[in-house]
Symmetry: C2
Subunit: 419 residues, 2 copies
């Protein structure tokens, strides 16, 4: 069978299975998730041996970074975390069937807006094998069929995980066809997959900006994505300066390689002299490279100059651009122009100033007097997250189970006719 | 200025205005809407004279259908309806700022999920000038900037409407730049518009399937659409047959040219002999052409045979395909395979059968013991609707003000840091 018909058949099979997935009981789904967690642990030896083959193949090929090899590798602890994520997903509230709205019309019709699964969700990701089991768990719990396309480096690990979880699904009364893995490592497989808009309802790419741009460009299926996280913290002249110092440090340094870390710090001109010297001193001690605007460099000597590109750069590293702004309005305009609309923060004691910032900054998550690092599904109490969206349609910000659902309207009549 | 930079500038201007639109007060928006309604009536003479120029130009060009000329033409009654729609929109609840969820995390963070405007909405439509004022009203009320691109036939009417409404907006303290009309009638204008994903957040095409397919194919901006309405009514063997007869008649005949009219009627095999002869007799008397499956043609003689294409056809006319199905399961499978996922109905007295139909049919709106013709924003109590979505992401079914919004997360802290 050619690659084309292989992928089309897989998508058709997933669509057919999605109708069955949608009506699996909460109890059956949770039982399956718990058994899946158990099976991953039980089959650790097999998983690790398949993973070692992936690692050996990647090592032999060369050209792969140490970071990629790290993301690719499994060990007992990581398998336990995969199992834990499945157990946590089992413990979450089932979103399917929730009545979002219910109303009675003057003509006696009762209308209910009810949460339903989306249908078939495609996940396109890179080397992390845990994405495979996390996504299978979240899609199962939300009643969706899932088609996974992981990076070629992880193909043996992913095949092993899917094999284990499908076999559990079958035994637990969940349609195993609702879990599909693209086994081809041919790049064309992605192109074919992205053309199956008849059978796939949503694509979520998880990975670097390059992967995401590729998916967006080629997909005829709706995509939910975030390209990057260019997050700002704005320190108002009305901030508690000691608090601002800790928040900015946390937002930049606690884990610089992630999308919700601060990349640009904005400081009110009236706070610059009080705030910047001690703050930049903290950063320098932590090894953070500062790139400053002219005013910043006037207040603190010996800082590298920021260029125009710096304001649109996601460093994902111990680098920070710093800009002194005229006022809150200037800060808001800078953020709306340069933020990736992911997560931005203000530090201020002035409630009205905070309010205006919250209303006017056009980002998925906004923070007052706390760190952008809290922008995360777990931190928001959603349980596991399947991604963070910087799109505005359907889902914005962290995406949990609810964001993997849609709704339908159920209208109950007693023979009413349209006049 | 070339067409390219003209459209790009318009999109940029709309984006900048969208930040202002988002914070206009409810009172100012409602006052503007009421003044707009008044202005349309007050400027009727001007509007009608511009509309007559459009009609004359269209008549001179030939090739336009009578139906198009009818849709294009304005009169006192239609202008009153446009004004009425603006007044009704003023009376609707302002969706912006609604707190959708509020929670306190164990670390003391308060998280609020708050409804916000989407930003910039593009509307691409055909000849009806009322779409212009309806969409301006709905976008204004939901705090969005709007870019309108209407059919070339209506360019003078649309220009006049936009001129009147922008001038009112300005006086009423609503940013007039938030209302933009593409004045070029060059087809390329649409292509350029659909590439402005940086400045436009959502595109809603309103019109025939051809227009919508063109928009979907070319757009880099998310699109919400419905291609067509292939709606089914399934008459169970457990239906009240007298009720079923009235519902099916209403769904097909009351207004056959619209998307929520029935195109295919499914009948349980055990009901066929009781139901079909009288039903088909009703339809024949109303001038409905019946295209039947072999079993239908065995029960009622002298009916045209349906071919394979009939099950996927949106007639928008007094034509109906009729199929006898084995059982409810067979009906559900037929609908999931052939429906356009817009609106489908079941007639039955059996609550469990109805439940199973509602759970298993994958359509935006499902009806029990009533007509698919109720699938409509007004009928659902939303007030005016901007369209009906057969997509599953963001908005499904009738789209009112709420469906023109997104949300953001506001996180309030007291210096909390991520561990």
């Amino acid at each position: 069978m050619g690659l084309d018909s292989q992928i089309v058949n897989m998508a058709k099979t997933a669509r057919a299975a999605s109708y069955k997935m949608a009506i699996v009981s909460q109890e059956a789904k949770n039982r399956a998730l718990r058994l899946m967690a158990k099976a991953l642990i039980g089959e650790s030896r097999y998983l690790l041996s398949e993973n070692r083959k992936d690692l050996a193949a990647a090592a032999a090929k060369k050209g792969y970074s140490k970071a990629l090899l790290d993301r690719l590798s499994l060990n007992a602890g990581r398998i336990e975390n995969m199992a834990k994520c499945l157990l946590e997903t089992a413990a979450l509230k089932d979103p399917v069937g929730e009545v979002l709205k219910s109303l009675k019309r003057p003509n006696g019709l009762t209308i209910k807006k009810v949460r339903t699964p989306i249908g078939v969700v495609g996940i396109i990701f890179e080397a992390r094998p845990n994405v495979t089991s996390d996504c299978i768990g979240l899609c199962l719990k939300s009643g969706n069929a899932v088609i996974l396309k992981g990076g070629r480096e992880a193909i043996r690990s992913n095949t092993a995980i899917v094999k284990i979880l499908k076999s559990v699904a079958q035994k637990a009364g969940v349609p195993a066809d609702g879990i599909q893995l693209v086994s081809s490592t041919d790049h064309k497989a992605v192109d074919i997959l992205l053309a199956q808009e008849k059978y796939i309802d949503l694509v979520i790419p998880r990975g670097g900006e390059q992967l995401i741009r590729l998916v967006v460009e080629k997909s005829r299926i709706p995509v939910i994505k975030h390209y990057k996280g260019i997050c700002h913290v704005y320190v108002s002249d009305k901030a508690d300066m000691a608090m601002a110092r800790k928040i900015c440090f946390n937002a930049k340094v606690q884990r610089p390689g992630v999308c919700n870390a601060m990349e640009t710090m904005l400081v009110h001109q009236n706070a610059a002299k009080r705030f910047l010297p001690m703050m930049i001193d903290d950063f320098k001690k932590a090894g953070v490279e500062i790139r400053g605007c002219p005013l910043t460099r006037r207040v603190v000597k010996g800082i590298k100059a920021a260029n125009a590109q710096d304001w649109d750069e996601e460093y994902l590293d111990l680098i920070l651009s710093v800009k002194v702004v005229r006022d809150t309005n200037d800060a808001i305009e800078h953020i709306n122009a340069h933020s990736s609309h992911h997560s931005d923060a203000i530090v201020t004691k002035d409630v009205r100033e905070a309010d205006s910032f919250l209303k006017r900054v056009d980002s998925a998550c906004l923070f007052v007097n706390t760190s952008t690092r809290f922008s995360d599904g777990y931190q928001f109490g959603m349980g596991a997250e399947i991604g963070i969206s910087t799109d505005k349609l359907h889902a914005r910000g962290p995406m949990g189970l609810e964001e993997l659902t849609t709704y339908k309207y159920l209208v109950y009549g007693k023979g009413q006719l349209r006049q």
